[in-house]
């Protein structure tokens, strides 16, 4: 087997050193009645690199790759152009095959990168401190809810209807096992993101209000108003962002009163990958709360020779030290995805991110105007960044499936996101990034026209 360096003479010499007759003898502690004396039955045997590649390629061909379609899907996972440099860097073995940097003397590469990443995320979000990443946006969002409960010692969680339904679902699932009481109402097919109704529901028991920005239908809620209302009642504002490129054009949540900002970082550097691995981002505006934060943190220090260096720090919050008193049971971050994000963000910088956001918004406006002219189609949103909701005069789901047969991935039907939602079936969420061409927009418009006529 090509990944196993030992030769039979090696094995024989090593067994002799150990004083065992065979490898099987080393498994003497496994009760004989449960020890398998050969390979697990019914499974294939070893295969060459060529054969495995062929098999996997055949499987991959059964998927329609975004690049082979006119592509307008978003809803928490975004297709942006990722510069070739990003993939080259993350495939360097020194990053790819390194462990968590618990030995800082020989992990300064990962640690310095994480320190830079934390700073990039904190600035993008308008926050004081960001952690070294979490699993994904949905789990980061739940961790923020639990952190808010620790800080406020309250249990009421008020979730906006504009939050990604998967994030809501994760929170509702986890809350079944904790003491959090979640209040959530499905969104309605309206241009107004419903800030007033949300604000009206904040009470003295509310630990936190969770708002997505821009929201699941592409609308942009007024964070400052919600923040003021929440703070007046002693509650925290958690803002979730699923599209970080938007923050190149929109004011940062931390500058608009958010206390905890979480999000999905996948859009920058990571790629679609059918939903994972992704990159949870987590940041706070008040640095005094850092000891209540979940996840790994990288901090600056000096070494014994007085040189600047970086270490994982404040680990007394973490499970491997605190065991059942930890701030979270999470042990892994999303290191390599954080690297991809950081490299892409470094290539972009202030100027590039701003220009990328502007290009997304320009194309999205173009698409919205064009699609609004299709008979039977109306653009719902007053405000949006690169994602908006179309209201069709028929159910969107079957139409999306039909268009896919013709190589048009038209977007995400709200009926897929909210299968039990009332009155949302005609909604189609359309996302337009810089990877979309004006021809693609025309293709989508024509396809919709045809399908709706």
């Amino acid at each position: 087997m090509r990944y196993l360096p030992l030769t039979d003479p090696d094995r024989a010499a090593m067994l002799e050193k150990i004083g065992a007759d065979s490898v099987d003898v080393l498994f003497a502690d496994v009760p004989a009645e449960h020890y398998l004396d050969g390979p697990v039955a019914g499974l294939p045997l070893a295969a060459s690199e060529m054969a495995v590649e062929k098999h996997m390629r055949r499987l991959s061909k059964k998927n329609l790759a975004a690049a082979d379609a006119a592509f307008f899907c978003g809803a928490g996972a975004y297709r942006h152009h990722v510069p070739a440099t990003v993939d080259h860097i993350i495939q360097r073995g020194e990053f790819l095959t390194a462990y968590t940097p618990y030995q800082p003397e020989i992990a300064q590469g990962t640690l310095q990168m994480l320190f830079e990443f934390q700073t990039q995320v904190a600035r993008l979000y308008g926050c004081a401190v960001a952690n070294a990443s979490m699993y994904d946006g949905s789990t980061a969002c739940w961790e923020a809810i639990v952190m808010a409960a620790r800080l406020t010692k309250r249990r009421g969680v008020l979730i906006s209807g504009g939050l990604h339904p998967h994030y809501v679902s994760v929170a509702q699932t986890m809350a079944r096992f904790t003491d959090e009481a979640i209040a959530y109402q499905l969104p309605t097919l309206e241009a107004d993101p419903g800030d007033d109704a949300l604000i009206a529901r904040i009470s003295d028991d509310t630990s936190c209000v969770v708002v997505q920005y821009p929201d699941i239908m592409g609308r942009i809620p007024d964070l400052q108003r919600i923040a003021d209302a929440a703070h007046e009642k002693g509650a925290l504002l958690i803002v979730a962002n699923t599209e970080p490129v938007a923050l190149g054009a929109l004011e940062a949540p931390g500058n608009l009163g958010a206390d905890i900002v979480v999000g999905e970082g996948q859009a920058i550097g990571v790629g679609l990958q059918f939903g994972g691995p992704y990159l949870g981002l987590f940041a706070i505006t008040n640095p005094k709360h850092v000891r209540q934060m979940p996840g790994r943190l990288c901090g600056e220090t000096v070494d014994a020779d007085g040189k600047r260096g970086f270490v994982l720090t404040l680990s007394t919050r973490e499970q491997h030290i605190r065991r059942e008193k930890a701030t979270s049971n999470i042990c892994t971050n999303s290191g390599l995805c954080a690297l991809a994000f950081s490299v892409h963000m470094t290539l972009l910088g202030e100027k590039g991110l701003t220009a990328l956001a502007a290009e997304n918004h320009r194309l999205a406006c173009l698409a919205a105007d064009r699609l609004d002219k299709v008979p039977g189609v109306r653009v719902l949103n007053d405000t949006f960044f690169n994602e908006f909701t179309l209201v069709l005069d028929k159910e969107a789901r079957p139409l999306v499936r039909k268009l896919a047969e013709h190589g048009v991935l038209a977007g995400v039907a709200l009926g897929r996101l909210f299968p039990h939602g009332e009155g949302l079936d005609d909604g189609l969420l359309v996302t337009v990034t810089e990877t979309v061409t004006e021809d693609d927009i025309e293709t989508l418009a024509k396809s919709l026209e045809e399908a709706l006529s």
Binding site: L59, N63, T97, E105, A128, A249, D303, L314, Q319, A404
Partner: protein
């Protein structure tokens, strides 16, 4: 948060002190050992490494009143500067590609490059998680094939694929247990965890709302079966047990433990972090396990990536399968058609599912890598791999047990990791010193001070992807370090001497945390 960054010499500034050893340089560089500034010190707000159209002032604007007013203050670098920055940083990292990474319980094995190539096929890398099901048949096919392997290798009934990493998988397993108990109206409060367990185990049980109670180990480093039996009762939801355990030993009584827990109405969670030792040799399902997470980033060679992403599918027994989280796939036995089960269609057929743990489908990019690895090995190769992993660990155990104390060495063979203690070191010499000495010898340190049941523990897991020549060199280094520790060699106290950094002041980092760069980027 203090305003200033911590002091100390920074790359990019001249070296003026004379503590640079022999042959000081003014840059702080040492030939191929290159110092690197932060991107915030290198870049400017005007530099960009991507070509993008200039934004137009008169472009349409649907941002309402929310357009950004404040500077983000991010630095940019051109492409060549970016490549150089990260390449220089990369060279300050140790990695499996460079050498042995004997971290016990972490299974740092070779990461095959075919895995990377496959994961980047457009049909896997460039697919959206919410595309219509007809356009993602291949993705569901990958999940189905990998599921089949994991189920067959573990002798279980089902697998929940979505957990994002090991601890997330633990949580999934415990939540399945809680959901199953609640479904039968049985609100049990306590989870038993052996004292040798991973720290994540008690953290997970507590997160899921359980009280955690320790169960002691016996003198052989295994779970004390009688103590466990004595504690079982109607308040015990289950046990979380690691097998092989964190002392590197197989829990011989695993079946008896499971039977006792089941008889008392509880369920058995097994931490599968150490599955690499027994893969293809014994099936946890045959030992009565109800749930076990599998770290694809350990056993099945997906890269650790400097701390993630991981992937932690959870195999489930028949008793727990109905409670698996969404989404999951179901294969039609007759047509072979694979169906995706999500919130909308879970209702009637699968009422028990405890909900959703993450957006989308789990770590697809890791599924493709793990499946590629598994198909490469085949059932025979996987069995050979666990055999070689255990052989390598025993070879290290027997090559060092005359110079290092091996607390359970007399009890027989170990599994995939060899455990030593600091017993016999000179006063003032510690496991940490040996670990830092290993860095100078060109190895990554072993796992230190874990498991907690052994004083000054050193847990060495070589994995099967190391050659005998590498192991022999490691043994040579460890023998030398053991002698130095026993002799009280003071130079070990200040090791490493040859790494990019000397020992770092972790106390200062925690006392006055500097967690972000504080300056303003050049305009």
């Amino acid at each position: 948060m203090n305003k200033m960054n911590a002091g100390g010499w920074k790359p990019g500034t001249p070296v003026s002190s004379n503590n640079e050893g022999e042959y000081p340089t003014v840059t702080g560089n040492r030939a191929l050992k290159l110092e690197e500034r932060l991107i915030f010190e290198l870049g400017t707000r005007e530099t960009c490494g991507v070509d993008l159209p200039e934004p137009k002032a008169d472009a349409p604007n649907r941002l309402g009143k929310f357009a950004r007013q404040q500077l983000i203050d991010l630095p940019g670098l051109s492409e060549p500067e970016t490549v150089r920055h990260y390449t220089r940083l990369s060279r300050q990292n140790y990695a499996i590609d460079l050498g042995l990474f004997p971290l016990g319980s972490c299974t740092m094995k070779h990461n095959p490059r075919l895995n990377e190539k496959v994961a980047r096929m457009p049909g896997f890398a460039d697919v959206h998680p919410l595309q219509p099901v007809d356009t993602i048949k291949g993705a569901l096919g990958v999940i189905d094939e990998l599921s089949h392997w994991l189920i067959e290798l573990t002798g279980m009934s089902a697998v929940a694929m979505s957990p994002k990493a090991g601890a997330h998988g633990e949580l999934c397993g415990i939540l399945c247990i809680r959901a199953a108990l609640e479904a039968r109206g049985d609100a049990r409060k306590v989870v038993l965890v052996p004292e040798s367990a991973h720290g994540t185990n008690p953290a997970t049980a507590a997160f899921a709302g359980y009280e955690v109670e320790d169960i002691p180990a016996d003198k052989d480093g295994r779970v004390d079966l009688e103590a466990l039996k004595a504690r079982l009762g109607p308040d015990v939801a289950g046990v979380m047990i690691t097998n092989p355990n964190t002392c590197g030993l197989f829990e011989r009584d695993m079946k008896a433990i499971s039977d006792a827990v089941h008889a008392a109405g509880g369920l058995v969670y097994c931490d599968g972090a150490n599955f690499n030792a027994i893969m293809g040799r014994v099936r946890p399902g045959d030992l009565g396990v109800d749930a076990m997470h599998i770290n694809l980033h350990k056993t099945f060679s997906t890269p650790h990536g400097g701390g993630g992403p991981g992937s932690g599918p959870v195999v489930l027994s028949e008793a727990l399968a109905p409670y698996a989280p969404l989404p999951f796939i179901v294969k039609d036995g007759e047509t072979g058609e694979i169906h995706l089960v999500e919130e909308e269609n879970v209702g009637d057929e699968f009422p028990g599912s405890f909900g959703r743990m993450t957006a989308f489908h789990g770590q697809m990019g890791m599924f493709t890598r793990a499946l590629t690895y598994i198909l490469s090995h085949g059932a025979d190769g996987l069995r050979q791999a666990s055999g070689d992993a255990v052989l390598n660990a025993n070879y290290i155990l027997r090559s060092l047990d005359d110079v290092l104390d091996a607390p359970f060495g007399e009890a027989g063979h170990c599994m995939h990791e060899a455990l030593f203690s600091d017993n016999g070191f000179a006063d003032g010499m510690s496991t940490l010193d040996v670990a830092k000495g290993l860095i100078d010898e060109g190895f990554h340190p072993m796992t230190m001070y874990f498991p907690l049941v052994v004083h000054g523990a050193m847990l060495v897991e070589p994995t099967e992807t190391e050659s005998k020549a590498t192991l022999d060199q490691f043994v040579m280094a460890m023998r030398s370090l053991a002698e130095r520790a026993k002799a009280g060699d003071e130079t070990l106290k200040t090791a490493p001497h040859h790494a990019p950094r000397a020992r770092l002041d972790e106390a200062q980092a925690a006392r006055k945390p500097v967690l972000a760069w504080q300056g303003s980027v050049e305009g």
